[in-house]
Every structure is written in C-alpha cells, then in structure tokens.
C-alpha cells in the first residue's frame, strides 16, 4: 500500500477576471517525492503555488495538502514556504526572523541548527535589510524548513546566487528530501530542477503539457540537437522548415539545428547531397525540450536562460 498523497490538485481551474491562469490542472505528489514545475513566465506556476500555500482559492476543483485544505492554519503547520527574498522585514535581525517563524510551530528546528544548515550562523545578529541579495535568498529558503515541514514549496530558490552558494543550498534541500520530505519546486534554472527533482511537470498557458522523469520529458519531445560543418546556404530551406536553426554556417561554417526527428533529418541531408562533415546528434537540453512543448520557439538565435 502506498502512502496517501501529500499534494493533491484535482481538476483545478483558476481564473482572474477573463484570464485563465490554470485550466483543469491535476497533480499528485506522494510523500518523499521531489517534483519540479517548469514553464515560461505566465504559465501558471505561481498561481499553482499560491493555491497550495493557501493564499488563494481555486475557481473550481480541489486542492489538498497533507489531506486538508491549505486555507486552514492547522494544515499549513505541515507546510514550509519561501518568502520573496527581497521582502524580508528589513529591521529584524536574521536570528529574530527565524525565531519568529519558529514561534508558529510547536516543535521547530532549533534556531542555531537552521542557521548552521544554511550557513547563516555568522550573520545571526545582522538586520535583514543589511544582507546581500544572496544572503537574503539563503535566509528566505531556510525559513521554509524551520517548522520541520512535511512539504516544502520552493519558488525559484536560487535565483541570483553564485555557483558555490547555489550548490550549498541544493545540498541543504537535498538533505531534506533524503530524510523523507516532499518538495515542490519551480525554477528557471533547468539545471536546478535536474539537480533536485525526481519528476518534472511542464506547464504552459495554464495546462499541464507533460509530466514524467527528466529523461521522459526530454524524450517526449524527441527534440534532437544536430551539429555539423557545412558552408552557409548549403542546406536547402525545405530541410530546415520544421527545425529551429541555432547556427546557419555563417560562423566558421558550423551548423546547429534542433529538429523533431533526427533520423529523417539526417536522411534528408544525405539525400540532398549536402556536403556536411563532423555530424553530431545529441539529446536536446531540458530547456529546449520544454520550450518545444510550450510552443515558444524562438525564430533563431540562442534562447535566453
């Protein structure tokens, strides 16, 4: 018998006036799972998290957290949420903010332990307003874990952190998941989702577009990155019609395309007698995969992260 789900989103629709932020979305997360929610801005990620945090009500459908309604304070005792890092109370000291959040729980982590785990011990008596962006971010993420939660919602946890700080934070979050905690994470850093999540949910325009392991979602799109050397203009236009051209041979004779069917593309390349060399075919990155799923293909050039 598997444990009952910790997060149950059942056929949830949420509208804001005429705007449909979530459209018939269902999502189940079991205890100990780490799920990454990917999608472009405006896809409905934040709305989904605000429903799970009890901030808003679904227009239709049900949202359950740990078997209850997250709009009830008692249910939220099992939840950990990150505040916006820039929104910490400016005049309070780091240890005071941790103590304050801990004061809402009957058995919180000791403040010293929280500070140590997130490398904040040296900053304990600094006011939040005086922290650097990265330090504020670490404190904001730490606050989600203060109440020994069963479920943690992390919204873009490491935006703006440098690489060592990001890896340190990931280690702390991974520790929580390894000890049996449930994690729901949104991120713009696909590397982050790959590093922390077992499962990925891709949302776009308020709908779940794909769901599965990182490898499955990537495979679902069948998008492949094809690289080869050839002069500019050597590839007939009808071959590149369904592809995204990243490089078109104008720079050092290198071509790079993202194509839905690499086998067919290579056959066509041979059939059209394109004088290519050094052919490489590789799986597309998760980011490219999800951009393909959400239909946000740039006309050309590299996609900004």
């Amino acid at each position: 018998m598997s444990a009952p789900p910790v997060v149950e989103v059942d056929r949830v629709t949420r509208t804001f006036g005429d705007v449909v932020a979530l459209d018939d979305v269902s999502l189940t997360v079991r205890p100990g799972e780490a799920v990454g929610v990917l999608g472009p801005n405006g896809a409905g990620k934040s709305t989904l998290l605000s429903l799970l945090a009890g901030l808003r009500k679904p227009t239709s459908g049900t949202v359950r957290l740990a078997g209850g309604d997250p709009r009830e304070a008692a249910v939220r005792a099992r939840l950990g949420v990150t505040p916006q890092a820039t929104g910490l109370p400016q005049t309070l000291k780091v240890a005071e903010v941790v103590d304050f959040v801990a004061g809402h729980h009957r058995d919180p982590l000791p403040t010293g332990e929280v500070l140590e785990r997130f490398e904040l011990t040296g900053l304990r008596s600094r006011q939040c307003g005086g922290l650097s962006g990265g330090q504020q971010r670490r404190l904001a993420v730490a606050l989600a874990f203060v109440g020994r939660p069963d479920v943690v919602l992390l919204d873009e946890p490491t935006t703006g952190l440098d690489v060592p700080a990001r890896h340190a934070l990931w280690a702390a979050v991974r520790g929580f998941v390894e000890r049996g905690g449930t994690l729901l994470l949104t991120s713009h850093y696909l590397e982050e989702v790959e590093a922390l999540a077992h499962r990925v949910v891709v949302v776009g325009r308020g709908r779940v577009l794909a769901e599965g392991t990182v490898a499955e979602v990537r495979g679902r799109t069948a998008l492949r990155r094809v690289r080869f050397g050839a002069p500019p203009g050597a590839v007939p236009a009808q071959l590149t019609a369904g592809a995204r051209v990243v490089a078109d041979g104008t720079r050092e004779g290198r071509w790079e395309l993202l194509v839905p069917d690499a086998d067919a593309f290579v056959r066509d390349l041979v059939g059209a007698r394109v004088p290519f060399s050094e052919l490489e075919v590789a799986a597309a990155s998760l980011e490219e995969a999800f951009l393909a799923l959400t239909g946000e293909r740039a006309a050309g050039g590299e996609v900004a992260a």
């Binding site: 205890p31 009890g54 008692a74 005071e96 809402h104 729980h105 000890r179 049996g180």
Partner: protein, 270 residues
C-alpha cells in the same frame, strides 16, 4: 518525543500533537512582540510618537500653568492623551497597515500556520502599546511641570474613557489602512490629523473656538472622546452628546473598516 526526521509515513498521537499550530493567544503575543520590535527599530516613529504630545504640553500648556488652575491643566493633559491615541491610530494603523499590505512579507505571513485573528489582534495591541509610549512622557511631564491633578480612581476612569474614545479612532485608522495605497494613506493621515485635533478641541479648549466651529465640534469623534476623557479624569459632567457621538462614529467607521478589510482580502487572497 523528538524526531529530527520528518517522514509523512509516521503517525501517532505525539506526532499529530506536534503538528497542531501554536495556540491563538501565543500567536497573538508572538505577532504583537515582533510588530512592536519592528516599529521600535524605526527611531523616527518612536521619537515622534513619544515626544510629540509631550512637546505640545511643554510648549503650550506648561508656560501658562498656574494661571489656569488644576482643572484646566488636567483637561489639557486629557486632550493631549486623546491626540496621542489619534496620531498613533492614523499613523501606525492607517499608514502602517497600508505600507505593510504592499510588502511581500505580509503575503508570506498568510502561509504560516496562523489565522487572521491573532494577526489582527496583534495589530490592535501594537497600537495600544504605542499609545502607552506616547502617554508616558506626557503624564510624566504633566506631573512634574503642571498643576494637573487626579485621584487613582479618576486616573483609572480616565484610562478607561480613553479606551472608549480610542475605538472610533482605531476604526478610522483601520479603514484608512485597508482602503488606500500607502502613499495616499500617509497623506490622508496627515490631512485628517490637524483638522480633527482642532475641531475636537485637542489643542485649544472649545471655549476659545469661534461659533461656527463649536457647532461642528460637537459632532466630531475627537471632541466626544475629549469630553469623555476629561469628564472621567476630572470628575466633571460629560455632555450628553458625547457617548452617542462616539458610538455613532464607531459603528460607521467600524463598518467602513470591515468593508475595506473584506475588499482588500478579496482582492489579494481569493
């Protein structure tokens, strides 16, 4: 029972007890403490709250003390006590709430295991704490430098009357804080403060008012509050209009506050 490992498969009475949120009283006390602490870290707010009423007493009342008699001095102190309560309500509640509403931290508080009531109660208690902060220097100065006198019973009655007089002012502050954006709230608080103080006879006694102002004065919440507090503190008669005017304003402004709070919650959290 202390388990460092939070796994959802473990159940049991001890674990469920740990998962209950802290009690409402404890949460109210927690939020009050932190709101006061946050406010105390802003020196301008502390100084203006604590100093302004005492300063007015020192500048306008102390030089004339002795010539007016103890009753007039006591009345002057009572007036300034009402003024102190009003400025706290307009600024810490009115402008303060409007400012907090715009901060992401306010949204984050709603994800913590605490209901609306403890947070709201903490707001009101924090205002009460700041009113006390304004009263202490005022009363110390009154004892040291004026002829103001009272008995323990009248002092207690005066404080009770101040609490009642503060209700419509509290409702005014809440209505303001929840209905308009921060900048507008601060401007409105400043615009309302002085007219309400003058019309209510908080700076100058009503005897010094021109006739047209006397007619308006009777119907202001500040005048009614002033009369009630002075009556209680000096043992003199309170005009029969005072209590109905206070109740009327409390009901009207309370209704506006409830409407504003509901509208705000509906906009942000529905």
């Amino acid at each position: 029972m202390s388990t460092p490992v939070p796994t959802s498969t473990r159940t049991g009475a001890g674990r469920l007890a740990r998962r209950r949120p802290a009690g409402a009283l404890r949460l109210t006390w927690l939020h009050t403490r932190y709101q006061v602490l946050e406010a105390l870290r802003v020196p301008v707010m502390v100084v203006s709250t604590a100093v302004f009423p005492a300063l007015i007493l020192a500048v306008f009342v102390v030089p004339q003390s002795g010539g007016m008699g103890p009753a007039a001095d006591t009345a002057a102190v009572a007036q300034l006590a009402v003024f102190s309560a009003m400025s706290v309500s307009l600024f810490t509640h009115g402008a303060g709430i409007a400012e907090d509403r715009a901060l992401p931290w306010d949204t984050h508080l709603r994800t913590l295991p605490v209901g609306a009531l403890p947070r709201f109660a903490a707001r009101v208690l924090m205002g009460a704490a700041f009113t006390v902060l304004g009263l202490v220097p005022l009363l110390v100065l009154a004892v040291l430098l004026t002829d103001a006198t009272t008995t323990p019973a009248r002092f207690a009655a005066g404080l009770g009357a101040l609490l009642v007089a503060g209700l419509p002012l509290l409702a005014l502050g809440l209505a303001l804080g929840y209905s308009v954006p921060a900048k507008a709230a601060l401007a409105l608080a400043q615009v309302l403060l002085l007219p309400l103080a003058f019309a209510g006879g908080l700076f100058l006694p009503p005897q010094a008012m021109p006739g047209w102002l006397t007619a308006i004065s009777t119907w202001t919440p500040t005048r009614a509050g002033r009369d009630l507090v002075i009556g209680a503190a000096t043992g003199t008669d309170v005009p029969s209009t005072a209590l109905p005017v206070l109740v009327g304003w409390t009901v009207v402004l309370g209704a506006v506050a409830v409407w504003a709070i509901r509208r705000d919650q509906g906009r942000r959290f529905r």
